[in-house]
Structures are given as C-alpha cells and as structure tokens.
Symmetry: C2
Subunit: 408 residues, 2 copies
Amino acid sequence: MGKNMLIAQSGGPTAAINASLSGAVQQARCSGQIGKVYGARFGVEGILKGNIVDLDGCLRSEEDFHVLECTPSMALGSCRYKLPAPGEDGEVYRRLLQALHEYEIGYFFYIGGNDSMDTVAKLSRYFAEQGEDIKVAGVPKTIDNDLAETDHSPGFGSAAKFIATAVQEIIRDASVYDTRSVTIVEIMGRDAGWLTASSALARDEHTGAPHLIYLPEVPFSVADFLGDVERLHKEVKNVVVAVSEGVRTADGRYAAESYQSGVVDTFGHRYLSGVGKYLENMVRHNIGCKVRSVELNVLQRAAAHVLSATDIDEARGVGQAAVRFALEGKTGFVAVIRRASQEPYEASYDCAPIERIANVARNVPPEWITPERNDVTGEMLRYLEPLILGEVRFPTERGLPKHFLLRA
Amino acid sequence: MGKNMLIAQSGGPTAAINASLSGAVQQARCSGQIGKVYGARFGVEGILKGNIVDLDGCLRSEEDFHVLECTPSMALGSCRYKLPAPGEDGEVYRRLLQALHEYEIGYFFYIGGNDSMDTVAKLSRYFAEQGEDIKVAGVPKTIDNDLAETDHSPGFGSAAKFIATAVQEIIRDASVYDTRSVTIVEIMGRDAGWLTASSALARDEHTGAPHLIYLPEVPFSVADFLGDVERLHKEVKNVVVAVSEGVRTADGRYAAESYQSGVVDTFGHRYLSGVGKYLENMVRHNIGCKVRSVELNVLQRAAAHVLSATDIDEARGVGQAAVRFALEGKTGFVAVIRRASQEPYEASYDCAPIERIANVARNVPPEWITPERNDVTGEMLRYLEPLILGEVRFPTERGLPKHFLLRA
C-alpha cells in the first residue's frame, strides 16, 4: 500500500462538488496504490484544527457514494480561508505539514474555485521547496463557471439547468393572466455572466421569453434598461427579464448600490436588497405597470433535485482524473475538462498547471453578447446546451431527496 | 352523443391544476356521454370574450395528456374576475348563458380556489332559476390548502414537496461553513400556514432545522422572534427559520408593514419587500450575526419539476370525479378528496355542496401548533407526510421539462 490521501472542499457550495469527492475517493480505492483516505472538515482550516475524518469508515457501499453524489453543498464542509504567503506566516505551513506527516499523507486534493486554487499553488510550491514528496492537486468547482483553462467548471451545468428550469416555470407563471406584466429574475454571478446567460436556454418560440438578458460583463444603464422594458412592454404581453446580481453601472458601482444608500428605515438603518428588487421598484415608479421580481437565491447552487447528469458525470470524472494524474507522479496541477467534441458532445480530462488557474477569472467573451448588449448569441447557446443534458435519478426517502450527512 | 362540455381555470397558478384539466377531459372522452370538449381561455372572462378553444383538437395523444399534467401554471390561462350578483348585473349572466347555448354546453367545470367556487355557486343557482339544464361543478385547486370540506387541495402536495425539498437544500447550504449563522426562509400563504408548516418535513435529527416555524395563524411579535433567534443562536450553529409571508402583529398589520412604511428611497418612494428581508434586517441590526433570507417566491406554485405523484394522481382523480358526478346528474357541487385511510394512505373522491366551500377559508387548527407557537406538532406532520409521496417522471426536451403550450 502507498501513502495516505487527504481531501478537502473549499469556497462556495455547489450541487456537484460532492460528486468530485465521490470520484476521487472511488478512484483512490480502486487504484490499489493509496492507503487510507482522509477528509478534512471545513477546508484547510480543518487540517490546522485537527478536524480530520476517516472517509473509508463513512463511505462503504455503492449506495453511500450515490447518495453522496446527489447531496448538495459540501459533505466535508467548507471555508473561505486564504493561505498567507509562506514568507508572511511560515508557522501555518509548518503546522499543515506536521498534520500531513502525522496522517502519513502522500496526496492532497483540494476541491474548490479560483481562490482555493491559490491554496493549492502555494502548498505545492512549499512542499517542492521543502523537498517533501506530497502530491498536491486542485479539483475545480464553481457554479460561476469562471475558471480559466477548463472548458467549463463542474457545478456549473447543474446550476445552469436549475436556472433554465426555474426560468421556464416562471415564464409559464408570468403569462397566466390576460394582462400585461413585467417579471425580473435576479440570477447569481457577481462578475461572470455565465449563469445569467443560462436563462436563455428556457426560451421557447411561443413566448420568446426571457426577452432581455443583462450580464455583468456589460456596463449597466438603468435608463437603457427602462427604455428596453418600456419598448417591449408595448409589443409583448408578459415581459421577462434576466439580470445578473453583479451588474454594475459605468462608474463600477453595483446597480442597486447608489439607490440603496438612500434607502433607510425609520432608525436610519440602510436597507439592503438585490438588484432584482431594485429594478422592480424602478419599473413600478417609472413605467407604472404590474411588475414582480424573483431572486433565485441559494437554490442556484443548492438545488440537487435538478442535477445535470452531464455535470455529475464530469464532476465525478474530474475527481477521478485528479487522483490518476497524481498517481502518475504529477503535482501542482488542476484536473480540467476539455470539450473533445461538440456533436455529439464529448468531454475528456486533462491537467493544467495550477499557476494558470489560481486567482484568474474567465468572463463571458464579448462576441457571445449581442450588439444590443441585452441578450446572448447562438454561439453561447451552443456552448451551454450540452452541459445541462441528462437527468439524475436521486434516491428519495419519505418523498424527499436523501442526503449524505457526515456524522463525524 | 350528449351535450358539449366547457372547462376553465381560475385563480392563482399551481403545478397540479393542469392534471385536473387532463383528468376531466379524459373522463369526458371515455364516458362516451359528452359531445365536444371546449376550454375557455383566461377563466370566465374568456367565455364573455368568446375566447373559447376546441380541446379535442389540442389534446390528441396519451403523451399530450402526460405533458399537460407536468406543465405548471394554467394551460388555459386564468383570471381574477369576481362574478357580480345576478341582481347587480343580469347582463353578464345573460351573456354567459348565450355563449353556453351557442356552444351547446351541458356541463361546465371550473377549476379554482374558494373565490372561483363563488362563481360556480352563482352560476349553478342562476341556471337552476332559469330552468337551464346545464350542470355546473367546481374542481378544487390551491397551493394554500385552505379550502373547506376537502381533506386537502390538489396543488398543495406538490407545493409542500417543493418547499420541503428546497428547505432541506437550504439547510445543507446554511451549514457549510464552520461559523454561526441565521437563515430565514419566507414561504407563501397570506392567511393559512399549511405551506409554511410543510417546511417541517425537511427536518432531520442531525441538524434539527428548521428550528423555528411561524404561521400566520399566530399573532407575530418581532420581540418574541428576536428572543427565539437569540436563544437558539447560542445553542445551534446554523439556525434556520421558516416564516409565512402572511404573519401579522397583534394589531392585524403584516409584520413588515409598519417597518416598510418608514423605508423610503431618496425620491420618497416606499420600498416594498417581504417579511423575510425585513426580519433579516432586524436580526442583523439587533443580534448582529451573519444572516441571510431566502424568499421561495413563485417557484412554490410553479415548480412542476418537483411534483408529488400523490398530488398529481389526486388532481387528475378529482377532475375525473367531477365529470362522473355531473354525468350522474349532480350540479352545484365541488368534487373533494376524503382521506379514506391514513396507514396505508388512501384517498377517495366525494362531492360537497358548493355553498360550504365558496368564500370559506380553512386555517391550521390551533392544536397543530406547539404551545410555544413557533413550531408545528407531530399530528401536523402525520397529516402532511403522505401528501408529498412519490416522484413524477416528467418528459424532457434538451435537458429541460417539456411543457404543454396552447397555441390557439
């Protein structure tokens, strides 16, 4: 038997990150080259606090892995901890190394977004400098789809599928009465518009909704928005708008920010809410029509009851690939997804140097946004379409999805 | 062949109301006693406007019916029209009767909530007074579950299942970090707490969440709420609260109302938002901890991607039963669901006089709320549990649920 493996999860939750955990653990087991498999609770903080569990004891049957793969959020818990530079705080690195020695770890996998990949980059450099034979690898995840080097990020496909499903249902709901209305759907994505773009997948020829899509990559103008809505409101009975929570005005401020600084309660407390509610108020006061806003909120990253089978297969696959590459002797890399073929869609796994991913964000390319800057192009749709394909039959108990709960 | 049938939908959308439409149309066809089947668009307003479609032409195959049953909102559209008393506006009744004569209607079915049942009551009385042989019946639907006479309302089970599923996912999401937090979930139900109570179905022994449940049947006190949250915040790492959008203070005002009248923007516009956002702000300012609110919003009534098979079977069943009873010669009734057996759960269909349902609302009984008035009892859970059982495999197209769209 080889050395032991440690795995942890970090950053914001997604519905697919546990499938990567499942894939990595399964691959470690079937490789026959890894000793025990440990999990750190709440990211690297768990390593520092000695909060480490024996995953071999928790994941026994095939059903355990299936339930884990269909459980949203992180089974191991997460953290938002940013590792200091080794020069700044060498003590943290020594403590991490000590913990890894204690558990005889030869392989460390960190599933996370671009902030978490910074941890992978720093650790792999530090171990190399210290002459430690500990392979360190990143496994990508983020609903935001803003990681470089990978065609798309595990977790994004399921979030996009939930958004398209929800927007399609909101379109049905919005057109139920024989009266004119405007519906605004606020979608996650502070900097990248991939999730908001996914709302376009809900579009049918019958209604043409969503009619307007505003991404954070385009400077947002409230006046242009009101102009777009007013024009469409005359042509279309039920206007549906998708807007990113991250849209900013030309001066770089979040669209709702200037407005909200002026919204206070009787105690003088600033009243916080999202851009959807802000634009709803704007439409009501300026156009005066029936208007509603819907914030899809945390379900976008947590709705494991609408998993994309493509996404879950790839999330598992990228976890497996990371372990395979590490066993081949690679370190300081991130396992990534390549689009091997578009029709029929096919993915393959590769590894990319960690430096090209850590702290880099990938936005929607300008050419995938229409010249009017309020919609996405057909090329964007072709990119998105395969990622939401396939349904996952999740296990249920008493009429609800069954979740994996780590009791350690 | 007998006379023709007309069917329409009314009130707020649900994910199950199209299953009742499907059941009624299927029963009419297989009875062999009904001629043509027509649908009025946008409720009784469609009859007045001559907006009537031939449903035989739209629903041809078994697949058509299956797609229809899995489509949220109303395939025929809806209205919020209240029929005047015959003494007030006899002209409306004459026009309705004329339209029904024109289409040779012998059976009129109206699927809706307690406001819509008022229309059924008035029309059946009017036709009887006029000596018209037109059978009129109501088919119940409402996510609010506040209809009298029926054990529960079609549409409620699927909404309850979505709420429990979403709350369970929000609980996973809320406990991902190793830090204390409060999460508030705002749930629909202006007057009745059935939907908010359904959040209790998401409770697991591990987290105990949702920890607090506030129904509109109980006068709401912001001070008590803050006391409950502050106490729990010390005991439980991640507190999850379910609150009805309709909670009112002892003076009868919506909880957020007094606060919001003092929330204005720089233009002096009143800023509207829900009770969840209001309580989030209250917790932030008074307890000062990490807090988030989630409004489940229209997905509660539109999320046909989480249908309860029990609910859809019963929604179809109650539509079929209404047609059967009308063909037996009954009129002025509502088809209702009886709980024939609790274990194993079994439902049967019956008819109830329309007068006992129209304009009557059924709230959560006080004995199903705990003495502390911030949770529901085991008896409530036993009532709710069977209603969310079973999953519906909806048809999909390009990774999304396939919806029935009436192109007429």
